[in-house]
Protein backbone atom coordinates (compact mmCIF):
# COMPACT_ATOMS: atom_id res chain seq x y z
CA UNK A 1 0.00 0.00 0.00
CA UNK A 2 1.18 3.47 -0.76
CA UNK A 3 1.30 5.40 2.46
CA UNK A 4 2.74 8.41 0.65
CA UNK A 5 1.76 11.66 2.25
CA UNK A 6 -1.76 10.59 3.05
CA UNK A 7 -2.31 11.85 6.56
CA UNK A 8 -5.23 9.53 7.22
CA UNK A 9 -3.11 6.40 6.76
CA UNK A 10 -0.04 7.67 8.60
CA UNK A 11 -2.26 8.78 11.49
CA UNK A 12 -3.36 5.20 12.13
CA UNK A 13 -1.90 3.69 15.27
CA UNK A 14 -0.19 0.54 13.92
CA UNK A 15 -1.07 -1.52 16.98
CA UNK A 16 -4.73 -0.62 16.94
CA UNK A 17 -7.16 -3.37 16.05
CA UNK A 18 -9.08 -2.15 13.03
CA UNK A 19 -10.86 -5.27 11.78
CA UNK A 20 -12.72 -7.97 13.69
CA UNK A 21 -14.06 -10.97 11.83
CA UNK A 22 -14.99 -14.56 12.57
CA UNK A 23 -11.32 -15.31 11.76
CA UNK A 24 -10.01 -12.97 14.48
CA UNK A 25 -8.47 -9.52 14.61
CA UNK A 26 -6.38 -7.49 12.19
CA UNK A 27 -4.32 -4.58 13.42
CA UNK A 28 -3.64 -1.48 11.36
CA UNK A 29 -0.04 -2.60 10.77
CA UNK A 30 -1.14 -6.01 9.52
CA UNK A 31 -3.20 -4.29 6.85
CA UNK A 32 -0.88 -1.43 5.97
CA UNK A 33 2.47 -3.20 6.10
CA UNK A 34 1.45 -6.39 4.32
CA UNK A 35 3.63 -6.98 1.25
CA UNK A 36 3.44 -9.49 -1.55
CA UNK A 37 6.46 -11.73 -1.90
CA UNK A 38 9.19 -10.83 -4.32
CA UNK A 39 8.38 -13.86 -6.49
CA UNK A 40 5.58 -11.82 -7.93
CA UNK A 41 6.78 -9.36 -10.49
CA UNK A 42 6.00 -5.81 -9.51
CA UNK A 43 3.49 -3.93 -11.62
CA UNK A 44 1.62 -7.13 -12.46
CA UNK A 45 -2.13 -7.35 -12.74
CA UNK A 46 -4.24 -9.41 -10.35
CA UNK A 47 -7.89 -10.40 -10.20
CA UNK A 48 -9.05 -11.21 -6.66
CA UNK A 49 -12.14 -13.17 -5.62
CA UNK A 50 -12.20 -14.27 -1.96
CA UNK A 51 -14.74 -16.00 0.17
CA UNK A 52 -12.94 -14.73 3.28
CA UNK A 53 -13.50 -10.96 3.60
CA UNK A 54 -10.44 -10.62 5.89
CA UNK A 55 -8.23 -12.28 3.25
CA UNK A 56 -9.77 -10.01 0.63
CA UNK A 57 -8.82 -6.92 2.62
CA UNK A 58 -5.29 -8.18 3.33
CA UNK A 59 -4.72 -8.99 -0.33
CA UNK A 60 -6.11 -5.67 -1.56
CA UNK A 61 -3.99 -3.55 0.75
CA UNK A 62 -0.89 -5.65 0.06
CA UNK A 63 -1.32 -5.36 -3.70
CA UNK A 64 -2.00 -1.63 -3.67
CA UNK A 65 1.22 0.16 -4.55
CA UNK A 66 2.74 -3.04 -6.01
CA UNK A 67 0.27 -4.16 -8.67
CA UNK A 68 -0.52 -2.12 -11.75
CA UNK A 69 -4.11 -3.27 -11.60
CA UNK A 70 -6.38 -5.08 -9.18
CA UNK A 71 -9.67 -6.41 -10.52
CA UNK A 72 -12.10 -6.91 -7.63
CA UNK A 73 -14.46 -9.82 -8.22
CA UNK A 74 -17.42 -10.85 -6.10
CA UNK A 75 -17.05 -14.17 -4.25
CA UNK A 76 -20.47 -15.07 -5.64
CA UNK A 77 -19.31 -15.19 -9.28
CA UNK A 78 -19.21 -18.62 -10.88
CA UNK A 79 -16.03 -19.93 -12.53
CA UNK A 80 -17.43 -19.51 -16.07
CA UNK A 81 -18.53 -15.95 -15.28
CA UNK A 82 -15.07 -15.12 -13.88
CA UNK A 83 -13.49 -16.58 -17.02
CA UNK A 84 -15.80 -14.47 -19.17
CA UNK A 85 -14.87 -11.26 -17.33
CA UNK A 86 -11.15 -12.08 -17.29
CA UNK A 87 -11.17 -12.62 -21.04
CA UNK A 88 -11.11 -8.81 -21.23
CA UNK A 89 -7.97 -8.78 -19.05
CA UNK A 90 -5.71 -11.40 -20.66
CA UNK A 91 -2.57 -10.76 -18.58
CA UNK A 92 -4.27 -10.97 -15.19
CA UNK A 93 -3.51 -13.59 -12.57
CA UNK A 94 -6.51 -14.82 -10.57
CA UNK A 95 -5.93 -14.97 -6.81
CA UNK A 96 -8.62 -16.78 -4.85
CA UNK A 97 -9.21 -18.81 -1.69
CA UNK A 98 -12.23 -20.48 -3.31
CA UNK A 99 -12.26 -24.09 -4.50
CA UNK A 100 -14.90 -23.28 -7.12
CA UNK A 101 -13.33 -20.26 -8.85
CA UNK A 102 -11.52 -22.16 -11.60
CA UNK A 103 -7.72 -22.17 -12.09
CA UNK A 104 -6.24 -19.71 -9.59
CA UNK A 105 -3.42 -18.94 -7.17
CA UNK A 106 -4.15 -19.20 -3.44
CA UNK A 107 -3.56 -15.90 -1.59
CA UNK A 108 -1.16 -17.58 0.85
CA UNK A 109 1.23 -18.05 -2.08
CA UNK A 110 1.29 -14.28 -2.60
CA UNK A 111 2.77 -13.86 0.86
CA UNK A 112 4.80 -17.08 1.07
CA UNK A 113 8.29 -15.94 0.09
CA UNK A 114 10.11 -12.99 1.73
CA UNK A 115 8.46 -9.73 0.89
CA UNK A 116 9.89 -7.38 -1.64
CA UNK A 117 12.01 -5.00 0.38
CA UNK A 118 11.85 -1.92 -1.77
CA UNK A 119 8.40 -0.49 -2.15
CA UNK A 120 7.85 0.06 -5.86
CA UNK A 121 5.20 2.73 -5.26
CA UNK A 122 3.07 2.20 -8.32
CA UNK A 123 -0.29 3.96 -8.48
CA UNK A 124 -2.56 0.94 -8.61
CA UNK A 125 -5.80 0.92 -10.57
CA UNK A 126 -8.64 -0.63 -8.55
CA UNK A 127 -11.01 -2.01 -11.16
CA UNK A 128 -14.52 -2.58 -9.98
CA UNK A 129 -17.38 -3.98 -11.96
CA UNK A 130 -20.83 -2.44 -11.97
CA UNK A 131 -23.31 -4.26 -9.77
CA UNK A 132 -25.01 -5.90 -12.74
CA UNK A 133 -25.02 -9.64 -12.29
CA UNK A 134 -25.77 -10.81 -15.80
CA UNK A 135 -23.69 -10.46 -18.94
CA UNK A 136 -20.23 -8.92 -18.87
CA UNK A 137 -20.19 -6.10 -16.31
CA UNK A 138 -18.74 -2.70 -17.10
CA UNK A 139 -15.37 -2.07 -15.49
CA UNK A 140 -14.79 1.21 -13.67
CA UNK A 141 -11.27 2.25 -12.63
CA UNK A 142 -10.50 3.91 -9.32
CA UNK A 143 -7.46 4.62 -7.17
CA UNK A 144 -7.30 4.01 -3.43
CA UNK A 145 -6.87 7.73 -2.84
CA UNK A 146 -9.97 8.46 -4.93
CA UNK A 147 -11.98 5.80 -3.13
CA UNK A 148 -10.95 7.23 0.23
CA UNK A 149 -11.91 10.78 -0.74
CA UNK A 150 -15.33 10.63 0.92
CA UNK A 151 -14.01 9.34 4.25
CA UNK A 152 -14.87 11.62 7.13
CA UNK A 153 -12.55 11.45 10.10
CA UNK A 154 -14.08 12.19 13.45
CA UNK A 155 -12.16 11.79 16.70
CA UNK A 156 -14.54 10.25 19.23
CA UNK A 157 -15.32 12.62 22.05
CA UNK A 158 -13.62 12.02 25.41
CA UNK A 159 -15.03 8.92 27.03
CA UNK A 160 -17.01 7.96 23.91
CA UNK A 161 -16.06 4.82 22.07
CA UNK A 162 -15.10 4.79 18.40
CA UNK A 163 -17.77 3.76 15.89
CA UNK A 164 -17.97 0.09 14.94
CA UNK A 165 -19.00 -0.28 11.31
CA UNK A 166 -20.67 -3.49 10.24
CA UNK A 167 -19.82 -4.80 6.77
CA UNK A 168 -22.81 -6.43 5.10
CA UNK A 169 -21.80 -5.48 1.56
CA UNK A 170 -19.11 -7.43 -0.24
CA UNK A 171 -15.73 -5.68 -0.03
CA UNK A 172 -15.39 -6.26 -3.79
CA UNK A 173 -18.17 -3.75 -4.37
CA UNK A 174 -17.99 0.04 -4.33
CA UNK A 175 -20.46 0.30 -1.43
CA UNK A 176 -18.50 -2.30 0.57
CA UNK A 177 -15.16 -0.56 0.06
CA UNK A 178 -16.71 2.73 1.16
CA UNK A 179 -17.67 1.08 4.47
CA UNK A 180 -14.21 -0.51 4.82
CA UNK A 181 -12.34 2.75 4.23
CA UNK A 182 -14.68 4.85 6.35
CA UNK A 183 -14.36 2.41 9.24
CA UNK A 184 -10.57 2.07 9.14
CA UNK A 185 -9.51 5.58 8.04
CA UNK A 186 -12.32 7.30 9.88
CA UNK A 187 -10.89 6.17 13.21
CA UNK A 188 -13.34 3.38 13.89
CA UNK A 189 -13.39 -0.37 13.65
CA UNK A 190 -14.74 -2.70 10.99
CA UNK A 191 -16.80 -5.73 12.01
CA UNK A 192 -16.93 -8.35 9.26
CA UNK A 193 -19.40 -11.22 9.45
CA UNK A 194 -18.69 -14.27 7.30
CA UNK A 195 -19.99 -14.03 3.74
CA UNK A 196 -22.63 -16.64 3.03
CA UNK A 197 -23.82 -16.98 6.62
CA UNK A 198 -27.55 -16.56 7.12
CA UNK A 199 -28.65 -13.02 7.88
CA UNK A 200 -29.61 -13.86 11.49
CA UNK A 201 -26.11 -15.28 12.13
CA UNK A 202 -24.48 -12.22 10.58
CA UNK A 203 -26.61 -9.88 12.69
CA UNK A 204 -25.78 -11.92 15.83
CA UNK A 205 -22.08 -11.49 15.00
CA UNK A 206 -22.50 -7.73 14.52
CA UNK A 207 -24.47 -7.34 17.75
CA UNK A 208 -21.75 -9.22 19.67
CA UNK A 209 -19.07 -7.03 18.03
CA UNK A 210 -20.85 -3.91 19.31
CA UNK A 211 -21.76 -2.64 15.85
CA UNK A 212 -22.96 0.98 15.97
CA UNK A 213 -22.96 1.97 12.27
CA UNK A 214 -24.60 -0.20 9.67
CA UNK A 215 -25.17 0.27 5.96
CA UNK A 216 -27.33 -2.02 3.79
CA UNK A 217 -29.83 -2.05 0.96
CA UNK A 218 -33.54 -1.54 1.81
CA UNK A 219 -34.09 -5.20 0.85
CA UNK A 220 -31.48 -6.35 3.33
CA UNK A 221 -32.83 -3.99 6.02
CA UNK A 222 -36.28 -5.59 5.64
CA UNK A 223 -34.57 -8.94 6.18
CA UNK A 224 -32.71 -7.56 9.21
CA UNK A 225 -36.00 -6.33 10.68
CA UNK A 226 -37.34 -9.88 10.31
CA UNK A 227 -34.60 -11.29 12.57
CA UNK A 228 -34.88 -11.55 16.33
CA UNK A 229 -31.13 -10.88 16.43
CA UNK A 230 -31.69 -7.30 15.25
CA UNK A 231 -33.08 -6.48 18.71
CA UNK A 232 -29.55 -6.96 20.02
CA UNK A 233 -28.12 -4.21 17.81
CA UNK A 234 -27.43 -0.85 19.47
CA UNK A 235 -27.23 1.25 16.32
CA UNK A 236 -26.40 4.94 16.19
CA UNK A 237 -26.28 5.32 12.40
CA UNK A 238 -28.39 3.47 9.84
CA UNK A 239 -27.65 3.95 6.15
CA UNK A 240 -29.73 2.64 3.26
CA UNK A 241 -28.38 2.61 -0.29
CA UNK A 242 -28.26 0.73 -3.57
CA UNK A 243 -31.98 0.93 -4.25
CA UNK A 244 -34.91 3.17 -3.48
CA UNK A 245 -35.94 3.38 0.19
CA UNK A 246 -39.69 3.49 0.79
CA UNK A 247 -41.56 4.97 3.75
CA UNK A 248 -42.45 1.51 5.09
CA UNK A 249 -38.85 0.44 5.67
CA UNK A 250 -37.78 3.88 6.95
CA UNK A 251 -40.67 3.99 9.43
CA UNK A 252 -40.06 0.44 10.62
CA UNK A 253 -36.33 1.18 11.14
CA UNK A 254 -37.14 4.36 13.05
CA UNK A 255 -39.47 2.41 15.34
CA UNK A 256 -37.00 -0.46 15.91
CA UNK A 257 -33.94 1.79 16.39
CA UNK A 258 -35.22 5.08 17.87
CA UNK A 259 -31.69 6.14 18.91
CA UNK A 260 -30.24 5.87 15.40
CA UNK A 261 -29.78 8.54 12.75
CA UNK A 262 -31.44 7.39 9.55
CA UNK A 263 -29.82 8.24 6.21
CA UNK A 264 -30.72 7.05 2.78
CA UNK A 265 -28.37 7.52 -0.13
CA UNK A 266 -29.11 8.01 -3.79
CA UNK A 267 -25.98 7.38 -5.83
CA UNK A 268 -25.12 6.86 -9.45
CA UNK A 269 -21.88 4.95 -10.00
CA UNK A 270 -21.96 5.99 -13.64
CA UNK A 271 -22.26 9.71 -12.84
CA UNK A 272 -19.76 9.35 -9.99
CA UNK A 273 -22.01 11.26 -7.63
CA UNK A 274 -24.70 10.79 -5.04
CA UNK A 275 -26.48 12.56 -2.23
CA UNK A 276 -27.86 11.74 1.19
CA UNK A 277 -31.32 12.28 2.66
CA UNK A 278 -31.41 12.53 6.45
CA UNK A 279 -35.00 13.29 7.40
CA UNK A 280 -36.18 9.67 7.47
CA UNK A 281 -38.75 10.14 4.71
CA UNK A 282 -38.88 8.49 1.28
CA UNK A 283 -37.78 10.53 -1.75
CA UNK A 284 -35.80 13.74 -1.25
CA UNK A 285 -36.63 17.37 -0.47
CA UNK A 286 -37.63 19.43 -3.51
CA UNK A 287 -35.33 22.11 -2.06
CA UNK A 288 -32.39 19.98 -3.32
CA UNK A 289 -33.29 21.13 -6.84
CA UNK A 290 -32.50 24.74 -6.01
CA UNK A 291 -30.08 24.24 -3.10
CA UNK A 292 -28.24 21.05 -4.03
CA UNK A 293 -26.41 18.97 -1.43
CA UNK A 294 -22.59 19.08 -1.46
CA UNK A 295 -20.91 17.58 -4.49
CA UNK A 296 -23.96 17.20 -6.71
CA UNK A 297 -26.29 19.21 -8.91
CA UNK A 298 -29.78 17.82 -9.46
CA UNK A 299 -32.47 18.58 -12.01
CA UNK A 300 -35.61 16.98 -13.39
CA UNK A 301 -36.32 16.84 -17.14
CA UNK A 302 -39.35 15.07 -18.61
CA UNK A 303 -39.92 13.25 -15.32
CA UNK A 304 -36.37 11.85 -15.27
CA UNK A 305 -33.75 12.54 -12.61
CA UNK A 306 -30.56 14.17 -13.94
CA UNK A 307 -27.35 14.45 -11.94
CA UNK A 308 -24.07 16.23 -12.32
CA UNK A 309 -20.97 15.79 -10.21
CA UNK A 310 -19.33 19.00 -9.03
CA UNK A 311 -15.89 17.44 -9.34
CA UNK A 312 -16.45 15.74 -12.67
CA UNK A 313 -15.68 12.23 -11.43
CA UNK A 314 -17.91 10.37 -13.85
CA UNK A 315 -16.94 7.27 -15.76
CA UNK A 316 -15.89 7.58 -19.38
CA UNK A 317 -18.60 5.39 -20.87
CA UNK A 318 -21.53 7.71 -20.14
CA UNK A 319 -21.04 10.29 -22.88
CA UNK A 320 -24.24 9.54 -24.74
CA UNK A 321 -26.26 9.85 -21.55
CA UNK A 322 -25.22 13.45 -20.86
CA UNK A 323 -27.43 16.39 -21.72
CA UNK A 324 -26.09 19.67 -23.16
CA UNK A 325 -25.10 20.93 -19.71
CA UNK A 326 -23.22 17.78 -18.78
CA UNK A 327 -25.98 16.36 -16.59
CA UNK A 328 -26.21 12.54 -16.53
CA UNK A 329 -29.60 11.03 -17.38
CA UNK A 330 -30.06 8.44 -14.62
CA UNK A 331 -33.05 6.62 -16.13
CA UNK A 332 -34.88 6.93 -12.79
CA UNK A 333 -38.42 8.33 -13.08
CA UNK A 334 -39.29 10.95 -10.46
CA UNK A 335 -42.36 12.99 -9.59
CA UNK A 336 -42.66 16.23 -7.65
CA UNK A 337 -45.26 15.73 -4.89
CA UNK A 338 -45.64 18.89 -2.80
CA UNK A 339 -42.24 19.64 -1.25
CA UNK A 340 -40.91 16.18 -2.07
CA UNK A 341 -39.38 14.45 -5.09
CA UNK A 342 -40.53 10.81 -5.14
CA UNK A 343 -39.03 7.91 -7.12
CA UNK A 344 -41.36 6.20 -9.56
CA UNK A 345 -39.28 3.36 -11.00
CA UNK A 346 -37.40 3.11 -14.27
CA UNK A 347 -38.38 3.16 -17.90
CA UNK A 348 -35.54 1.14 -19.35
CA UNK A 349 -34.75 -2.54 -19.41
CA UNK A 350 -32.91 -2.62 -16.11
CA UNK A 351 -34.35 -3.93 -12.86
CA UNK A 352 -32.87 -3.26 -9.42
CA UNK A 353 -33.40 -6.42 -7.41
CA UNK A 354 -32.33 -6.05 -3.81
CA UNK A 355 -29.56 -3.67 -4.94
CA UNK A 356 -28.29 -5.83 -7.81
CA UNK A 357 -28.91 -4.46 -11.28
CA UNK A 358 -30.21 -6.98 -13.77
CA UNK A 359 -30.47 -6.35 -17.50
CA UNK A 360 -33.75 -7.84 -18.67
CA UNK A 361 -32.46 -8.69 -22.15
CA UNK A 362 -29.60 -10.70 -20.63
CA UNK A 363 -32.12 -12.80 -18.72
CA UNK A 364 -34.17 -13.28 -21.91
CA UNK A 365 -31.07 -14.28 -23.88
CA UNK A 366 -30.12 -16.90 -21.29
CA UNK A 367 -33.67 -18.29 -20.96
CA UNK A 368 -33.80 -18.71 -24.75
CA UNK A 369 -31.02 -21.28 -24.28
CA UNK A 370 -33.68 -23.63 -22.85
CA UNK A 371 -34.64 -25.99 -25.70
CA UNK A 372 -38.38 -25.76 -24.90
CA UNK A 373 -38.53 -21.95 -25.10
CA UNK A 374 -39.29 -20.12 -28.35
CA UNK A 375 -39.85 -16.65 -26.90
CA UNK A 376 -38.93 -15.12 -23.56
CA UNK A 377 -39.86 -11.79 -22.10
CA UNK A 378 -38.58 -10.60 -18.73
CA UNK A 379 -40.24 -7.71 -16.98
CA UNK A 380 -39.50 -5.91 -13.74
CA UNK A 381 -42.35 -6.00 -11.28
CA UNK A 382 -42.60 -3.94 -8.10
CA UNK A 383 -41.81 -5.83 -4.93
CA UNK A 384 -42.63 -4.54 -1.46
CA UNK A 385 -39.70 -6.59 -0.11
CA UNK A 386 -36.98 -6.52 -2.80
CA UNK A 387 -37.63 -3.31 -4.74
CA UNK A 388 -38.12 -5.19 -7.99
CA UNK A 389 -38.52 -8.83 -8.90
CA UNK A 390 -38.52 -10.43 -12.32
CA UNK A 391 -41.57 -11.79 -14.01
CA UNK A 392 -40.86 -13.99 -16.99
CA UNK A 393 -43.25 -14.95 -19.79
CA UNK A 394 -42.28 -17.76 -22.15
CA UNK A 395 -43.84 -19.26 -25.24
CA UNK A 396 -43.21 -23.02 -25.75
CA UNK A 397 -41.09 -24.08 -28.73
CA UNK A 398 -43.57 -26.88 -29.52
CA UNK A 399 -47.34 -26.99 -28.90
CA UNK A 400 -47.16 -30.45 -27.29
CA UNK A 401 -45.09 -29.25 -24.32
CA UNK A 402 -46.97 -29.40 -21.02
CA UNK A 403 -47.13 -25.83 -19.60
CA UNK A 404 -46.63 -26.93 -15.98
CA UNK A 405 -43.61 -29.09 -16.93
CA UNK A 406 -42.13 -26.28 -19.00
CA UNK A 407 -42.63 -23.81 -16.16
CA UNK A 408 -40.79 -26.07 -13.72
CA UNK A 409 -38.12 -26.79 -16.32
CA UNK A 410 -37.53 -23.09 -16.97
CA UNK A 411 -37.32 -22.45 -13.20
CA UNK A 412 -34.68 -25.17 -12.85
CA UNK A 413 -32.83 -23.85 -15.90
CA UNK A 414 -32.78 -20.35 -14.41
CA UNK A 415 -31.50 -21.70 -11.08
CA UNK A 416 -28.61 -23.36 -12.96
CA UNK A 417 -27.75 -20.47 -15.29
CA UNK A 418 -28.58 -17.25 -13.44
CA UNK A 419 -27.47 -15.73 -10.12
CA UNK A 420 -30.26 -15.71 -7.45
CA UNK A 421 -31.35 -12.09 -7.99
CA UNK A 422 -31.72 -12.58 -11.76
CA UNK A 423 -33.99 -15.63 -11.43
CA UNK A 424 -37.62 -14.88 -12.18
CA UNK A 425 -40.01 -14.92 -9.23
CA UNK A 426 -42.92 -15.72 -11.52
CA UNK A 427 -42.86 -17.72 -14.75
CA UNK A 428 -45.90 -17.63 -16.99
CA UNK A 429 -46.30 -19.92 -19.98
CA UNK A 430 -48.14 -18.16 -22.82
CA UNK A 431 -49.71 -19.81 -25.85
CA UNK A 432 -48.35 -17.25 -28.26
CA UNK A 433 -46.05 -14.24 -28.45
CA UNK A 434 -47.90 -11.30 -26.86
CA UNK A 435 -48.77 -8.41 -29.15
CA UNK A 436 -46.92 -5.91 -26.96
CA UNK A 437 -43.72 -7.70 -27.92
CA UNK A 438 -43.48 -5.39 -30.91
CA UNK A 439 -43.68 -2.44 -28.53
CA UNK A 440 -40.74 -3.84 -26.65
CA UNK A 441 -38.65 -3.94 -29.80
CA UNK A 442 -39.39 -0.26 -30.26
CA UNK A 443 -38.44 0.45 -26.67
CA UNK A 444 -35.12 -1.30 -27.13
CA UNK A 445 -34.30 0.80 -30.14
CA UNK A 446 -35.00 4.07 -28.34
Amino acid sequence: MILSSDAAWTALDPARRVVTSSEGWLTASQLIEARVSRDFAPAGSFAVSMKSPARMLSALFALDGTAAEILLLSPGLSAPHIAEIMASFPSMMLVSDRSDAGPCTHPDVLFAAPAASARPAVTTSWIMTTSGTTGVPKAVRHTLAGLARTVRRAEPAEGKSAPVWGLLYEPSRFAGLQVVLQAILGGGMLAVPAIGDRIDARIDFLAAAGCTHLSATPTLWRGILMTAASRGLALKQITLGGEIADDAVLTALGARFPQARLTHIYASTEAGVGFAVKDGRAGFPAAYLSEPPAGASIRIADGELLLKSDHGGSSAAIGEKLDGDGFYRTGDRVELVGDRVMFRGRDDLRANIGGAKVQLEDVERIVLGHPGVAFARAEAMRSSIAGNLLSLSVVPARPDLDPADLRRGVMRFCAEHLPPEARPALVKVLREVPVEASGKTMRRMS
Partner: protein
Protein backbone atom coordinates in the same frame (compact mmCIF):
# COMPACT_ATOMS: atom_id res chain seq x y z
CA UNK B 1 -53.98 -24.75 10.47
CA UNK B 2 -56.17 -22.16 8.73
CA UNK B 3 -56.71 -22.17 4.95
CA UNK B 4 -54.49 -19.13 4.66
CA UNK B 5 -51.70 -20.71 6.69
CA UNK B 6 -51.79 -23.90 4.63
CA UNK B 7 -51.81 -21.89 1.39
CA UNK B 8 -48.73 -19.98 2.54
CA UNK B 9 -47.08 -23.25 3.61
CA UNK B 10 -47.82 -24.73 0.18
CA UNK B 11 -46.32 -21.84 -1.77
CA UNK B 12 -43.38 -21.67 0.62
CA UNK B 13 -42.74 -25.35 -0.15
CA UNK B 14 -42.95 -24.65 -3.88
CA UNK B 15 -40.30 -21.92 -3.66
CA UNK B 16 -38.15 -24.07 -1.39
CA UNK B 17 -38.12 -26.93 -3.90
CA UNK B 18 -37.10 -24.52 -6.66
CA UNK B 19 -34.19 -23.18 -4.62
CA UNK B 20 -32.96 -25.91 -2.33
CA UNK B 21 -32.37 -29.63 -2.15
CA UNK B 22 -34.49 -31.74 0.17
CA UNK B 23 -37.94 -31.22 1.60
CA UNK B 24 -39.12 -27.89 3.02
CA UNK B 25 -39.74 -27.63 6.75
CA UNK B 26 -43.33 -27.46 7.99
CA UNK B 27 -43.80 -23.93 9.24
CA UNK B 28 -45.40 -23.55 12.66
CA UNK B 29 -46.42 -20.31 14.35
CA UNK B 30 -43.13 -20.20 16.24
CA UNK B 31 -40.87 -20.75 13.20
CA UNK B 32 -38.52 -17.78 12.80
CA UNK B 33 -38.87 -17.03 9.09
CA UNK B 34 -35.27 -16.18 8.23
CA UNK B 35 -33.97 -19.12 10.25
CA UNK B 36 -36.17 -21.55 8.31
CA UNK B 37 -33.97 -21.46 5.20
CA UNK B 38 -35.25 -18.89 2.70
CA UNK B 39 -33.48 -15.52 2.61
CA UNK B 40 -35.15 -12.13 2.15
CA UNK B 41 -35.14 -12.59 -1.64
CA UNK B 42 -36.99 -15.88 -1.07
CA UNK B 43 -39.57 -14.03 1.03
CA UNK B 44 -39.90 -11.37 -1.66
CA UNK B 45 -40.79 -14.17 -4.09
CA UNK B 46 -43.22 -15.68 -1.55
CA UNK B 47 -44.97 -12.32 -1.15
CA UNK B 48 -45.16 -11.86 -4.95
CA UNK B 49 -46.63 -15.37 -5.50
CA UNK B 50 -49.13 -14.85 -2.68
CA UNK B 51 -50.15 -11.58 -4.33
CA UNK B 52 -50.90 -13.60 -7.51
CA UNK B 53 -52.84 -16.25 -5.56
CA UNK B 54 -54.67 -14.09 -3.02
CA UNK B 55 -54.90 -10.82 -4.93
CA UNK B 56 -53.24 -8.62 -2.30
CA UNK B 57 -49.89 -7.77 -0.74
CA UNK B 58 -50.21 -6.68 2.92
CA UNK B 59 -46.75 -5.07 2.80
CA UNK B 60 -48.16 -2.60 0.26
CA UNK B 61 -51.62 -2.08 1.74
CA UNK B 62 -50.80 -2.01 5.46
CA UNK B 63 -50.97 1.39 7.08
CA UNK B 64 -48.34 0.51 9.67
CA UNK B 65 -44.85 -0.58 8.68
CA UNK B 66 -44.23 -4.08 9.95
CA UNK B 67 -41.89 -6.94 9.06
CA UNK B 68 -42.86 -10.19 10.77
CA UNK B 69 -40.25 -12.35 12.48
CA UNK B 70 -42.09 -15.64 12.85
CA UNK B 71 -44.58 -17.55 10.74
CA UNK B 72 -47.49 -16.87 13.11
CA UNK B 73 -46.95 -13.11 12.74
CA UNK B 74 -46.63 -13.49 8.97
CA UNK B 75 -50.01 -15.27 8.69
CA UNK B 76 -51.67 -12.85 11.14
CA UNK B 77 -50.38 -9.93 9.05
CA UNK B 78 -52.01 -11.44 5.95
CA UNK B 79 -55.24 -12.04 7.89
CA UNK B 80 -55.34 -8.54 9.36
CA UNK B 81 -54.82 -6.90 5.96
CA UNK B 82 -57.07 -9.12 3.84
CA UNK B 83 -59.44 -7.11 1.64
CA UNK B 84 -62.94 -7.01 3.16
Amino acid sequence: MTNLASKINEIYGEIWREQKPGEPPLLTNETILLEAGLDSLGYAILVARLDEELGYDPFTVATEAFYPENFGQFVAFYEANAPR
